[in-house]
Amino acid sequence: MTADQLLDLAAGICLVVGALLSLAAAIGLLRFPDALSRLHAATKPQILGLIFIVIAIALSARSWETALVLLPIILFQLLLTPIAGHMVGRAGYRTKNFRRDLLLVDELQDAVTRSDRAADEAKPPEEPPTKRE
């Protein structure tokens, strides 16, 4: 077995691993009970699966220029996926799009009630006082 064949085989195995991670995410999307746990399943192929596919491309192209161009793909996903996950998770919690009976610990609840109370106190009174005589 030559070195070229070995690299091709490694690239193929990386492809299969990436595809299996995607499959895990898709099964999780269908089987998990609520939006927050589906979010947990969905983020698996977005980082690790993409890294495996990018490694496969680098192994099959075998040039430093290609590897250099592939780097921003992982960089963008690493930067942007947590932002999207945070936004969706926050919206899901605030609109109660999750099943509370499945939670073991809810560390966010205290912070949310505290900030709600602070917002209530900071609000001006319902009827502004009339003009002083």
Binding site: D8, L9, A11, G12, I13, L15, V16, G18, A19, L20, S22, L23, A25, A26, I27, L29, L30, A35, R38, L39, A42, P45, Q46, G49, L50, I53, V54, A56, I57, S60, A61, T66, V69, L70, P72, I73, I74, F76, Q77, L80, T81, I83, A84, M87, V88, R90, A91, G92, T95, K96, N97
Partner: protein, 100 residues
């Protein structure tokens, strides 16, 4: 090698179908937006896989652009989710009592 490539293709096809099923089933807008995000990620992965199989590097630019812009739609939708987009038991109870 051909066997590996066929396996990868079948796996990605199954992933796309399952994600589409979740997009259609819902039940809330958050589930749909998460599933469509997975569908877009699958598209990026399929582009990369196709480059490996056919031995070219022409689609890398497309992959970079998709990776850089894929989260915009998710953030835009998540920003405007309100309580009315909920379809759980609480929402149906509210609807039953007629005090929306």
């Amino acid at each position: 090698m051909t066997v590996l490539y066929v396996v990868v293709g079948v796996l990605f096809a199954v992933v796309a179908v399952l994600a589409t099923v979740r997009v259609v089933m819902g039940p809330t807008i958050l589930d749909r937006v998460i599933a469509s995000d997975v569908l877009l990620t699958t598209l990026i992965l399929v582009l990369g896989t196709e480059m490996v199989i056919n031995g070219h590097t022409r689609s890398i630019v497309l992959m970079v652009v998709l990776a850089a812009t894929s989260t915009f739609s998710t953030v835009a939708v998540a920003r405007y989710v309100t309580n009315q987009d909920r379809t759980d038991t609480v929402q149906t109870e509210i609807a039953k009592e007629g005090t929306v």
